[in-house]
């Protein structure tokens, strides 16, 4: 438990969090491991956790009817996987597959949601941090959407 606390406290995502909140988070955390090729979660499943990836690589995939499934993003060491636990109606919007052996901390979303309801300060601190992740993903997605490498996109400069 102590190691978990230290690792969480040292992670940039949780920088600036009160030590008591770190302890609280550590209380909701557990070590998990996914063999290469296994699915961490699937689209439309209940989103009741988020993960701090410590080692390995995770691919986020989307399957659409009559189309080949594609990987829309990969995450690696140090990345945070999943924010849907925080936002109702709490279900995953894509698949997450371990591309290689992946070790992570899983943080219990149900437990944390309850604690955030009780302690709004904790809730605000977590929301701030997740908002920043969502913003960066949106930025990256916007750039992906612009499909800058496709033919005919050269004139798009903004």
């Amino acid at each position: 438990m102590e190691t978990l606390e230290r690792i969480l406290g040292e992670h940039p995502f949780f920088a600036g969090l009160e030590p008591e909140y770190i302890r609280l988070l550590a209380g909701c955390a557990s070590n998990v491991r996914f063999e290469a090729g296994t699915y961490i979660f699937c689209e439309s499943q209940q989103a009741d956790a988020f993960y701090l990836i410590r080692q390995g690589q995770v691919a986020l995939e989307i399957f659409a009817p009559k189309r080949r499934p594609i990987i829309i993003e990969t995450l690696g060491e140090g990345d945070i996987l999943g924010w849907s636990w925080l936002v109702p109606p709490h279900y995953w919007r894509f698949h997450a597959r371990a591309v290689e052996l992946t070790r992570a901390f899983a943080l219990d979303g149900v437990c944390l949601r309850a604690k955030c309801e009780q302690n709004h300060d904790l809730g605000y601190e977590l929301l701030k941090r997740f908002a920043s992740i969502i913003e960066r993903r949106l930025d990256a997605t916007r750039l992906q959407l612009l499909d800058v490498y496709a033919q005919g996109s050269a004139r798009v400069t903004r």
């Binding site: 033919q151 005919g152 996109s153 050269a154 004139r155 798009v156 400069t157």
Partner: protein
Amino acid sequence: MAAVLQAPNFEHLFAALQARGYEVIGPTVRDGAIVYDTLRSPNELPGGWTDEQEAGRYRLRRRADEAWFGYAVGPHSWKKYLHPPEYRLFSAQREGQGFRILPETSTAVKRAFLGVRACELAAISIQDRVLQGASYPDPAYRRRRENVLLIAVNCTEAAATCFCASMGTGPQVRDGYDLVMTELTGPDGHQFVVEAGSEAGRQLLEEMECPPATPEQCRQAETLVAAAASQMRAIRTEGIREMLYGNLEHPRWDDVARRCLACGNCTMVCPTCFCTTVEEVTDITGNHVERWRKWDSCFSQNFSYIHGGSVRSSIRSRYRQWLTHKLASWIDQFGTSGCVGCGRCIAWCPAGIDITEEVAALQAGVRGAAEAITENNHGNA
């Protein structure tokens, strides 16, 4: 040393020029305008004609006298000869899997430009900088330029569209000429006060055996030219570069975009516009090609095309490009303004857009220096 050339002696001037191998190019009336073309005799000069010009308007009107140069400028400029609308860069012949280039070997044509205005001399000197400057002097342009004799004419009246005084290019001819003339048509007869500006000009004058001009004649000439300066439009040029760079998102650009047709007339008649395109022309067999260089205009939709689309697709962006290039970027590129104040773009714009009016509107509505292009601030890239 000013001399006097009587109008009837122009025949001798033509003969002297032709004897030296010059093709005389000068003004003549055709299709309701005064254009530049080859002249065989002074009879072809537009005697007794003047031009009435306003935004989007050009008409010829008869004068009370028989002055030959009593007009301002027509749709042609001398770039028609120095930087022609089209010319061949080279030919090439297919040879097996490859090809052989056949470079142009045409001999240069000697031309005497008769009736070059002060603004036009300035325009020629501006194009000299563009096409002969720094990295790659254009050898074809140099060949044409070296074989040209410039016979300038001082303007004694201005068109309403002229603004050379504001641009500092006229109406007085200052330098860059071989001969300069001022036309007098008073009771003393039809004559020209002439001065040489080069050795070639001096030799011509000697051959004409012109008597020296009297102080009275010189004074008359000066008065006429000074009067021309007061008849014009004006444009304020101090700080124009910073003003334009600092106002690239000014609402006036949207306003002019609603009126501009992107027809490109302004770039065709402008004596300094130099943009060209290159075209590959093949014959039916496909074994012989010619590479041609032709005038192009930044107003055309495809001017800024790069694989898939044009960078400047809106008319707003193209008009902005033309105006900021002419009055601002040109200064950074070539050390002077690109505009000589000849007013052709104003007269020949079918929508009557007036460059002096657009600049004044931008200047009037200028915001702070927040968007100055020279400012060192962080964008939100």
